[in-house]
Symmetry: C2
Subunit: 329 residues, 2 copies
């Protein structure tokens, strides 16, 4: 299994109690949707469809070709098993679970920089992208994505677009009323809505592919309480509008703060900023010594900063970055 | 996907409002463990290990070789993918998801009656059993199970024992302190604890197999709120003792009631009674017309009755069975 940002392992290594960490390692909205009370039946009954979740998702995402899954991760792992071994392009740098899942299922995986994609798409059966990309924050023009989808689907290929962070960006979703063949869009409840513990995401795709995916995932994959809470989150337009507005502001604030600390972001979105720097590892360690956990990437040498969720958290980050500058050799 | 007991489809067919059904179709404890309040962080953070769930499971099940999974169903689907195509024996009649999962993964599946197993085990690489069996309630002697495990594991084979309903039976679990190679035991939080909506189960097996299974299932498979509630359920010995006592009584009461209605159970356990009768389909329909949903099996012609959860539910079942007898040609 791949390593992910994990507060507890860090806590053990640095000898700082769990409750004292400021965890900026994930890119999850630190001010999450507040879960409504869960009716006891949601715990005790087998989850059934037609409880309103599918309808809420259709309304929020704008398509009826949408399937709830047990987190985007479940879809990332299941999709590669729906194709015979083929040639798959994944972004580099990019969220490593995509490449890992396709490789584990026996596919030939090519890691591509963003500017290599256009030239390589003709040699691929499946192209996986993130919009915006994680951790770089890079956006693709929808015109390019549509063009690549046409090119791939003309030969039975797929364009898989992981839109996990899209609500925190300026990008327009590729989801459309009736999903065409060969286009698969992944959405997450963990990032914008901050419901990472609910293990719920959605896949938008052509009805035939969704039927295959549903069969592969099996019955009852999303927990009953999660179905209840996620449905409420998808229907709460007032919360969504306020959260989007706040993420724009907070994203800009974080970017400015990093610029002020001489760590100008190379890219980012409302939920994280990405800083490419040769000093990433030492900065990661110094921040961890202050109880601030970021996400370190060795290749390319870089750091991803999530948002602090409280005034105190922002002040701690400011103070630590000030100190970091002071400590700079 | 296989058909399962589903209240809503039945409700649509019989024109009875959802809230008016007495659902006896599942074998889930109708008086479930009452979930404690879930801390908001369980919804908002990615689920992490070391939150006490693994320790609670080790204590309840009596082994540290235990892995939480997103419902027994997740393990049923993942285990067949951990072996190259081989010869698999599954019980007939038995819970159909086992055969379905092994077949879907390309294995050669033989359906075996209980009395064929001893003679066939030498021709198998994997033997899947339920203890007690669902829906027949049949129990295997642990001596036989241990003997079959030895026979299978000597050639690299597996004995998979699904103990989903074991707390509602007199059987002793096959789980032991250090799990040996070739023995895989599945446990469910959905039946005895009545937490079917939590989508949480456990797999006890040799550490090396658990590591492979964990890798196949990927990160964060059990939702954070489910981890919290399941941990509490596993630790609540007073609830467990009271529930076991009640299930013994209620199981006997249901069996007696069926005998009184001239439908003597062929087998069962504390959570369900199984009635083999040529008249199963017509009885299923007549009970459904009264708003009582049972589980009908065509082959062999039989019905499974779960427990009513309330005094009113018991009275409704008594009345409907009385009427059923009156209506008998």
């Amino acid at each position: 299994m791949l390593e992910h940002g994990g507060q507890l392992r860090a806590a053990a290594r640095y000898g700082i109690p769990l409750a004292d960490w400021l965890d900026l390692s994930t890119g999850i909205n630190p001010i999450p949707f507040a879960p409504p009370p869960v009716p006891p039946e949601a715990w005790s009954r087998l989850p059934e469809e037609h409880d309103g979740l599918e309808e809420a998702a259709a309304s929020y995402y704008g398509t009826i070709n949408i399937l709830p899954v047990a987190g985007t991760q479940a879809a990332i792992q299941a999709l590669p098993r729906l194709r015979r071994p083929c040639r798959v392009g994944v972004p580099h740098p990019g969220y490593a679970e995509h490449a890992h899942a396709w490789r584990s299922a026996g596919h030939e995986v090519k890691e591509l920089c963003a500017d290599e994609i256009a030239a390589q798409v003709g040699n691929l059966d499946v192209l996986v992208l993130m919009q915006p990309n994680n951790p770089t924050g890079e956006l693709f023009a929808n015109e390019n994505l549509r063009h690549w989808h046409e090119e791939l689907s003309a030969c039975g290929g797929w364009l898989v677009v992981d839109e996990a962070f899209i609500e925190a960006s300026t990008a327009q979703s590729l989801i459309q009323g009736a999903m065409p063949q060969g286009l698969i869009v992944l959405r997450s409840m963990g990032k914008f809505f901050g419901l990472a513990g609910a293990r719920t995401g959605f896949v938008a795709a052509h009805a035939a592919l969704l039927a295959n995916l549903r069969e592969a995932l099996g019955p009852w994959c999303v927990a009953g309480p999660a179905r209840h809470v996620v449905r409420a989150a998808l229907l709460d337009r007032a919360w969504q509008q306020a959260a989007k507005k706040r993420l724009v502001q907070d994203g800009q604030r974080l970017a400015q703060l990093l610029r002020d600390a001489d760590l100008p972001p190379t890219g980012g979105c409302g939920l994280f900023q990405w800083v490419q720097t040769e000093r990433a590892e030492i900065i990661y360690q110094r921040l961890a010594q202050c109880g601030i956990l970021t996400r370190y990437f060795a290749e390319p040498s870089s750091l991803r900063f999530g948002l602090p969720g409280s005034g105190a958290g922002w002040l701690r980050l400011v103070a630590a970055l000030d100190q970091e500058i002071v400590c700079t050799p």
